[in-house]
Subunit: 349 residues, 2 copies
């Protein structure tokens, strides 16, 4: 089977695997300008912090490629600002946009398209390679025959390929089969039940879906040996922003002495964010909670609060797996070393 990727760029077109339709249908959505990419990001046709970075970079390329001569630098900046405003929490998006802007700023107007294209291509390739490497680092942490739980989707679909948490899980399973992966369904948008389940099925990894609220009961019965999740932003102190519900899983894991691992490339680490309290948490449309498959669930007049992410404090994180190895507490020091190593590998600036 071909390696799964959530996007592919060729000849002035970024195609996105339409994730809102998975697993019922596999549809590739063509985007010809930054506006189309921004719209796709907003409605989660493409999602996952590393994938957002790659998609954003290609979005700027699309903008520059269509710009008139002499206007490419300005167009690049406008496209980047449009894309940056789509979603606030994932640090990779802003980081990748800055990478492209920086490269373009150093180039002439004539060179801008080629330089931006090369930069986006490099970001995409580096992310895939970082994930392959971190999967190798993380795999030995999962016990042979183990029962591993993951939340949301941190798979190939959430990255340029391979995946972070699912990359670790797949690598572990290839090395010594896992007996089961518990897939949290991940309300409200069901990235677990829809996307992670689909990826694990493709990979031939055995799994079972559970509602988010079953995690406590599973751990109380001793049915979870480890948790692996991805991240949208890791603060300098090791606090981890990730899909809403991750913090709850981490609290349960701590109570039951289940190791709680976070897998992410160093591009997800944000040295400029001191702690989790400094991470902007996106609040999404309450209709994501109040409606299901287009049907209203809740009574007329009901309101919902719909934070897309939460913050897991570093004290609950057993280790953070990056392409530079396994970071453990104190995270201030270990993450600084990982980020330096990530720079030298070209995974981040």
């Amino acid at each position: 089977m071909d390696d799964l990727v959530p996007l592919r760029y060729h000849d002035g077109c970024l195609e996105l695997l339409e994730q809102t339709l998975l697993p019922a249908a596999e549809v590739w959505l063509p985007c010809h300008d930054p506006e189309a990419v921004a719209a796709a990001i907003r409605r989660l046709a493409v999602r996952g912090a590393p994938a957002l970075g790659v998609a954003g970079a290609w979005g700027v390329v699309l903008g520059i490629a269509a710009a008139r001569p002499g206007e490419r630098h300005q167009t690049a900046r406008q496209a980047a600002e449009l894309l940056r405003a789509t979603r606030p929490t994932a640090v990779n998006l802003g980081w990748a946009l800055d990478e492209v802007l920086l490269a373009v700023a150093a180039a002439s107007d004539d060179e801008a398209v080629a330089v931006a294209t090369a930069t986006a291509g490099r970001i995409e390739a580096a992310d895939r390679e970082a994930n392959r490497t971190l999967a190798g680092h993380g795999a030995p942490l999962l016990p042979p025959g183990g029962r591993v739980l993951t939340h949301c989707n941190a798979g190939a679909l959430a990255t340029a390929g391979i995946g972070t948490a699912l990359g670790v899980i797949a690598a572990a399973h290839r090395h010594a089969p896992l007996s089961n992966v518990w897939v949290d369904e991940t309300r409200p948008l069901l990235q677990g039940a829809r996307l992670t389940a689909w990826e694990l099925g493709r990979l031939g990894v055995p799994y079972q879906i559970v509602t988010d609220s079953m995690v406590g009961a599973l751990m109380a019965r001793g049915l979870v040996d480890a948790v692996v999740v991805g991240s949208d932003r890791i603060a300098a102190n090791g606090d981890v922003a990730n899909k809403i519900g991750t913090y709850t899983v981490a609290v349960l894991a701590a109570r039951h002495q289940v190791p709680f691992y976070v897998a992410a490339p160093t591009s997800t680490v944000d040295p400029a964010t001191a702690t989790g309290r400094d991470i902007a948490i996106e609040e999404r449309d309450q209709r994501e909670v109040l409606e299901l498959a287009g049907h209203r669930i809740a009574p007329a007049g009901a309101h919902a609060l719909n934070w897309a992410f939460d913050v897991t404090p570093a004290e609950l994180v057993t280790a953070i797996i990056t392409e530079a190895g396994i970071a453990t507490a104190p995270y201030g020091d270990s993450l600084r070393n990982h980020v330096a190593a990530g720079r030298s590998r070209g995974v981040r600036s």
Copy 2:
């Protein structure tokens, strides 16, 4: 507004408010025999431990009423066994069935219908009265202006009326308005988003719906002052079986020093069950998780594990509110006293 009840018996017919259709439609489902009541219980047209007890009792009445003379005792036993097998976790169902059987066993065949009818009516009235009383006991535990979280539906719909956890919340709000009730949506069947939201709207209590996985983030931000939930069975040591996800809420509450209250009539306390480990946990059809509103969510071939309940250990329970007052640890002693008081009030045998 009339007091909300989930069922009403008259003239050989038990009408159930069809809870699977709420809040979109208010439909009363007529049941004329025990089989119809059993089917309604299995598919959760009526649910909630106290309501199951009352519905079960009336189900036996329907069976006896249609029995031929001389066969009423046998018919009562057969109807009770049919109804008892529908759902294993709620203790009130088995208890109420035994109450009716005991009363019928002491009566002649001629008297059986009248005795069963009187017993079912007494169980129904006693539950409503117990809830009214326990609501008064529990209300002072909730701070004026407080933000209170509840899980699943422990309202009038789950009882003979008034409700347990929602009874406490409504009584507190009448006394000194709460500022908000956080309503967990309660996957998979969304009793929170559908039923609790609907009841709170009727009562004029302000509320917001959240996904089950948002509870941790709410507590981390200091937005929850107390939790109140119902129960399907309370073991002699104070371990509490309740809707799946309750244990997770209790673990989070303990971490954040948020009081965690359980509200239930003494008929939900089961002295014959020593600890939570001895409570049978119902596993329901995995399609409840894999499908939503008739649409398949998960990939073909996916499996789900769907426990309907979990067990919260007594150590995580701040207090148990019954019609006899407020029970606190050590629960072995306090619950024994509550059960004795419940007997003297006729709430339980």
